[in-house]
Symmetry: C2
Subunit: 176 residues, 2 copies
């Protein structure tokens, strides 16, 4: 299991939070904590062992007692560190492209045609993925495909040709 998830599971228990609060205050040992929280030593031991194996607390014997103490560094990290999964590394330009796409596409439709040339090209190339390499299309077919993404298929078709994504000869279109 994921390390962070394991830590969150540990923290999501009232008894363990009580124990941690005691240990924030001072180091302590099983019987003392049990007494303070009105639970049996077996229960406290169960929780402490669990936290120990996750590295949240440490223990060391001292005379009669086994003293438990906090591993305080753990608690300084902000919450999102525990939640965010490492996304697969993507190149910055890839990332930018994704941002643009997620901005202009909603639920599979183009919400508006970007006015900035760079963004517009990214969007057009995304739509162009629906065309097959080497296949010939007539205008009706082209419009039909583009129409899945946006009302204004005329503008988009024209822009695709202007960008050099699509070529046209007479009534026939194809992907470059």
């Amino acid at each position: 299991m994921n390390q962070n998830l394991a830590l969150l599971k540990l923290l999501a228990d009232e008894t363990r939070l009580d124990i941690l609060n005691i240990l924030f205050r001072e180091d302590s040992y099983v019987e003392k904590i049990a007494c303070e929280l009105s639970l049996t030593p077996a229960t406290i031991c169960y929780h402490l062992k669990k936290m120990e194996s996750a590295g949240v607390v440490n223990c060391s014997r001292s005379q009669f007692y086994i003293i438990y103490s906090l591993n305080r560094e753990i608690f300084n990290q902000p919450l999102y560190e525990l939640i965010k999964k490492d996304e697969p590394m993507v190149a910055p330009e890839e990332k930018y492209k994704n941002e643009v796409l997620s901005h202009f596409f909603r639920y599979g439709r183009l919400t508006q045609i970007p006015t900035q040339r760079k963004k517009r090209e990214i969007v057009l190339r995304e739509i162009a993925k629906q065309f097959e390499q080497g296949k010939m299309y007539d205008e009706k077919e082209v419009n039909e495909i583009i129409h899945r993404y946006h009302e204004d298929h005329c503008t988009i078709r024209r822009e695709m040709i202007a960008c050099g994504i699509l070529s046209r000869e007479k009534e026939t279109y194809w992907l470059n």
Copy 2:
């Protein structure tokens, strides 16, 4: 139940972490998330509603879909904010005093007599709480009380008088 505990319980679930990671990336809706995680919409809905009632996510209808989005501020707080129970506010000097006491007392006994005067006085005044205001004690009684805290009752008794905590006349001692 405690608000923080409720939040931690929410976060301690793999499916909910997956959902949060999706929402970190972009707003989304039940069916899309269900598809992405290979779970049923009912299950996703169950989790989202749970998180919504804890204020972790918000939702609003947009056309066909009900769009869920993150309440991002929550994730900026450091972990200890969620764990520490609010201790009753204490003045800084009170806090220092507690630190000294918890350093020199272990399991109700004085582990060593502080050499620094300031710390020694704090420790002595703590022990002095065992004496009653206005009551007269003979030397044997004084030693007995101090002995509960430390072997060397002679030194401590002497220091208490030097600090002006205890007064002595002939064989009789009393609290100032």
